[in-house]
């Protein structure tokens, strides 16, 4: 799931200065689940920004801002507004901007990472979408996302007592990998050196696309 957090309120207020009618667009999927951009947050934002009393606000909550079918129902609301404050992830903000030509769409969140909900109100990063998964070699723990240095052969000298030198609150991914492989009775995997990889499957190859020809029959 995509994890995000809300931008500081003063930053949001400043980006809205030039506008009178603001549509706050929540998003009903990932950012609702991670408590940053759902309807509750949107209503709270409306109440807080509305204390000033100098603008008109509306709140809408499409199921997802990253799919056009969910946005149609809100076309009229967008038309009404001078600006859209999108509480979606970066994908939703861009998709709204693309769909509504001539309408400024401003992000209300900082999109942070792909992660998991460890407990109520606590999320951690798990995946960087590198495009070439190695989890089968590393006991199901990702060295790209969870090692501060994305080492493929670890641990490095900065690992001590199971934590990372970058920040003691970060668990050393390679310690976790070692412990996990040990419990799976697969410690011999650590004898295999993982060779340098081709990072073009990740961001280094430019923006990525995935196409399923059996579904997308005609090329767009």
């Amino acid at each position: 799931m995509i994890i995000a957090s809300q931008k500081p309120l003063d930053e949001i207020r400043d980006t809205l200065k030039a506008y009178d009618k603001v549509l706050i667009a929540a998003c009903g999927t990932c950012v609702t689940v991670c408590l940053s951009g759902g309807e509750k947050e949107a209503l709270e934002l409306k109440a807080l920004l509305g204390l000033e009393g100098d603008k008109a606000y509306r709140v809408v909550t499409p199921e997802r801002q990253c799919d056009s079918e969910f946005l149609e129902a809100f076309d009229e609301d967008v038309k009404w507004a001078d600006v859209v404050l999108s509480l979606a992830c970066g994908v939703g903000v861009q998709y709204m901007a693309e769909r509504y030509e001539g309408k400024p769409v401003i992000p209300g969140l900082n999109t942070s990472f792909m992660g998991t909900n460890r407990d109520a109100g606590y999320w951690t990063e798990m995946c960087q979408g590198c495009g070439n998964c190695v989890l089968e070699k590393t006991g199901g723990i990702c060295p790209v996302a969870r090692c501060s240095k994305s080492h493929f052969n670890g641990p490095c000298g900065g690992s001590a007592n199971g934590v990372c030198e970058v920040d003691p609150s970060i668990e050393c991914a390679w310690q976790l990998i070692y412990d996990r492989l040990k419990s799976l009775n697969q410690l011999d995997r650590l004898y295999d050196t993982i060779p340098p990889r081709d990072w073009r499957t990740s961001r280094d190859g430019g923006p990525r696309k995935i196409r399923r020809p059996d579904v997308a029959i005609e090329e767009v």
Binding site: L35, A47, A120
Partner: protein, 434 residues
Amino acid sequence: MKVVLAGQSRYSENLKTALADYGFEAISIRTASELKALPESLPVIILYDAKIHPAAQDKNAAAKAVLGLKPQDLVVFLMDKTEEASPYIENRVLDTALYLASVKRRVAVLLRSTRASDTAFDERLRQAREKGVSFVRYDNIAVEAEMDRTVINAFDGKLSVTLETPLCIDCSELPDPEVEAFIETLRVKRFGGGCISGTRWYLTQGNTHKRNVKFINTIELDGDIKQIVPALVDDLRALDRPGQEKVASVDSKKCAFCYTCYRVCPHSAMKPDENASAMMVDEMLCAACGICLAVCPASAITFAGGDKAEAKEESRDKLKIFCCENSAFVASTEALAEVDASVESITCGGDISALKMTEALKTYDNVLVAVCCDDACKHHDGNKRLIKQVERLKERLEKLGYDPKRISCVQTGITMTNLLRNAAEKALSGGGEK
């Protein structure tokens, strides 16, 4: 009526027979997986023979443990090390310590607090002191076990004391994996990672936060299971009667199925409705505290039935005070009689969201929320949730250039009228602190 009797206790058969006399059919189970296979709605009684160090529990075992020690050797009973000791443990330790002191042993009892759970406890404490038992209260403790001795350093915030002993008796309850598995399966909430039953004023012995789960620690029974049966039967019969009118209700179309309410509900009243891909409320368990309403990110939860119609705020009062119905609202009649404020009763501090407080700020100059004291929240941690909410809202108001002191909160009890009045007067003058 069927009830589940979970766990292996020396009293299981006795209780089964006693319950049968009242017309209950008890289904005995031994493991958590057997429990999982049964319908969730059945009441569950976990019977648990808790174990503590024998020398802390029994005079004979204590006498054996000190054999071979020199007369000048100190015997240390260490209480509250991992979690607050139950009244049972306190009483057993006091009795055993008193006994050892009476046979001329040097005895020290280390404990975090000397709270009086009953008047008899005070009396035993006095007797033990008179017999020469030393009591050391501590906030922090370091225990180092060596070959033939243990060195303990206790610090009470001002003074530290170092004790050396060949016999340090840890009086914590010994963990029981079987019971842990039941607790996890049933999602029974704990206090601060520790006890789950009976040591708070609002839970009588044996009751947990989950209405249909009873947790009976048999070492507290003094050998007689029958004494608890009438109260137990009353509670079980009450489960058959409809609960309160006001309960939380989830709009399955709006629910994001994020499990936030499931994780935070202090009464474990939320359960997944797989057919609707949404949460649903177990009405029997819901205590209408409102915590789920305040945390739901999709605004999908409301109160159904019994909810008061929202009155339009047209007050000219300068101050709005939200008072928890279990503490501050009771105190408010006297405390706030002469305070120029609009007072509203709330079910719990956890019911108050940042949205509600911000909306009140549109009508009032200042907002005060009065909640229960630490460890007194009937809904587990609603008071803590409110305090955190207020902290976050203050930060956000400050970012927007508003005075954060316009919002404040106070922790109070039903008799703490002066505290509530002072907080209200402070808030009225725009100087709310916490």
